[in-house]
């Protein structure tokens, strides 16, 4: 149960909303959110296994993190642009609209999404996940990983990192498609 009159639950709801992109209901969502990222993660891990020494893995991930660290600013700028973009089409319901659950008048309500809401949810997610990825990975890289299980830990860390990274990249590409083309094509 989640009601506005239970303050802690409502605070929890507010603080986790940037990740609500993952809860959007649509038939294609599992492809974007899970299938593609999983596929790219597998390819990346195979590549690492074949061509990169285990000692260099964290070095590679660290340099990717340097690149990711530049992204939150761009994502926030895109979010601000989408939130204030003035075009009638953006406020119409999408075709075969994805659905999302929101709190409305203290109750959970499943609504169909307009393009503006979809893009705002998407760029909120990208902003939050890029910030979290950078912070968590900085802590991870600062940790001294040695001992018998170090190889397993490094590989598990790489899989987790790369999965979130590819999930973010897939969502970014989807966002770029919407901003670059779909938004300017009438329904």
């Amino acid at each position: 149960m989640l009601r506005e009159d239970s303050p802690y639950r409502f605070i929890f709801y507010q603080l986790t909303r940037p990740f609500s992109y993952l809860l959007i209901r649509h038939d294609d969502k599992k492809v974007y959110n899970w299938l593609f990222p999983l596929l790219f993660t597998l390819i990346s891990i195979l590549f690492i296994d074949c061509f990169i020494e285990i000692d260099k893995v964290n070095e590679l991930l660290s340099s990717i993190t340097d690149f990711v660290a530049n992204l939150p600013g761009f994502f926030i700028a895109a979010l601000a642009a989408v939130a204030t973009f003035h075009k009638d089409d953006i406020d119409k319901l999408m075709e075969n609209p994805p659905k999302i659950e929101i709190i409305y008048e203290g109750h959970l309500l499943l609504i169909e999404m307009t393009r503006r809401r979809f893009l705002c949810v998407l760029f909120s997610y990208l902003t939050a996940v890029s910030i979290l990825l950078v912070i968590v990975s900085r802590f991870y890289f600062a940790t001294d990983i040695s001992g018998v299980y170090s190889e397993i830990i490094i590989k598990a860390g790489a899989i987790a990192y790369l999965f979130v990274f590819w999930q973010m990249i897939t969502a970014t590409v989807l966002g770029l498609y919407y901003l670059g083309e779909r938004l300017h094509t009438p329904q």
């Binding site: 149960m1 989640l2 009601r3 009159d5 239970s6 009638d88 406020d91 119409k92 319901l93 929101i102 409305y104 008048e105 109750h107 959970l108 309500l109 499943l110 609504i111 169909e112 999404m113 307009t114 503006r116 809401r117």
Partner: protein
């Protein structure tokens, strides 16, 4: 009903917002205050629109016959004309067939009955207003509230095309889309002492904490139309009831539990000491009974000197004065 006394019932009412949108099946914040709604009632009455037939074929017509705005309360006089009523027969005490008179009713002329209703302006901590209702033969409280709810809908309908008062932006945020709103009055009966006496001396057969499904995670009113409500069974074993200190205390404990768990209502069923079963649903915030006029607290007012009729054209001041003295 005697001509020198009246029975007054005690209720709480609450104004809720509703929408015609199919996706939103829960109550929302009301678009108008009770004060604004009462002003709209006056307008409806002036336009001769404060009349309701619940079905087009019905031979009963409800009417807001009179309205008064007092400093601390609003007074409504609700009249019903019932063309389905049996023809009235009068006779003298000790009279013969020749003294008998029949007042014939027909489709256009029926038996008229009145009920006075006082709504206090002051709200309690739970946003509810106290209502005193004159219980008449032909105007039960449930019907009076249905009549008021029809007026509330009528008021909203008149506004939908002309004003934005009863409209709100669609929750999807879609450009130009709006949901149509209307107000609805729900009511809660103050339980009578007799009810608690019967409950205490009876045998509990069930206590359930109940809620609608809209608070259920993942509930989708579109896809889960077959789901009606959530019900949590309370332990009513003799040991549990004895530990609580009796049936009434066990019910009160369940109401407190329900309130802390955000369940809006508690349903109790029991058999009284003579055998018949009873059930009632309690609101967890005030502990009053939801949408019923059974087991309601009643008080008698009398001393009208045999002057009361079945119906009045305007508010009867002496009834109102005696009703107000009860609170």
């Amino acid at each position: 009903m005697k001509n020198n006394e009246r029975l007054i019932q005690f209720f709480d009412i609450q104004i809720k917002g509703k929408t015609t949108s199919k996706n939103i099946d829960f109550d929302i914040s009301p678009p108008r205050t009770l004060e604004q709604l009462m002003t709209e009632f006056i307008t409806l009455r002036d336009l001769n629109l404060a009349r309701v037939k619940f079905k087009s074929t019905s031979k009963q017509e409800y009417l807001l016959a009179d309205f008064e705005d007092l400093p601390d309360c609003w007074v409504l006089l609700i009249n019903v004309v019932d063309a389905d009523a049996a023809h009235l027969v009068t006779n003298k005490i000790g009279g013969s067939d020749e003294d008998r008179k029949v007042i014939s009713l027909n489709d256009g002329r029926g038996l008229e009955s009145s009920a006075h209703l006082i709504i206090y302006k002051e709200k309690d901590a739970f946003d509810k207003h106290l209502v005193l209702f004159e219980r008449g033969h032909n105007v039960p409280f449930a019907k009076a509230i249905s009549f008021i709810n029809e007026l509330l809908k009528q008021s909203a309908r008149l506004s939908w095309d002309l004003l934005d008062t009863y409209k709100k932006a669609d929750p999807t945020g879609e450009l130009g889309a709006a949901i149509k709103l209307y107000c609805s009055m729900s009511y809660y009966a103050h339980p009578s002492d007799e009810f608690f006496e019967e409950l205490e001396s009876g045998t509990l057969t069930g206590i359930y904490l109940t809620s609608d499904c809209t608070n259920l995670i993942g509930y989708d009113s579109g896809n889960n139309k077959n789901l009606k409500d959530i019900s949590v069974n309370v332990d009513i074993s003799k040991l549990a009831v004895t530990v609580s200190g009796g049936n009434v205390k066990h019910l009160n404990k369940s109401i407190k539990d329900a309130d802390s768990l955000n369940f809006p209502s508690v349903r109790v069923s029991f058999k009284d000491s003579t055998g018949p079963g009873h059930s009632a649903t309690f609101s967890t915030d005030t502990g009053n009974m939801i949408s019923t006029d059974k087991y309601v607290k009643k008080r008698r007012i009398e001393g009208f000197g045999n002057s009361l009729q079945t119906a009045f054209a305007i508010i009867n001041d002496s009834i109102i004065e005696k009703m107000r003295s009860l609170y």
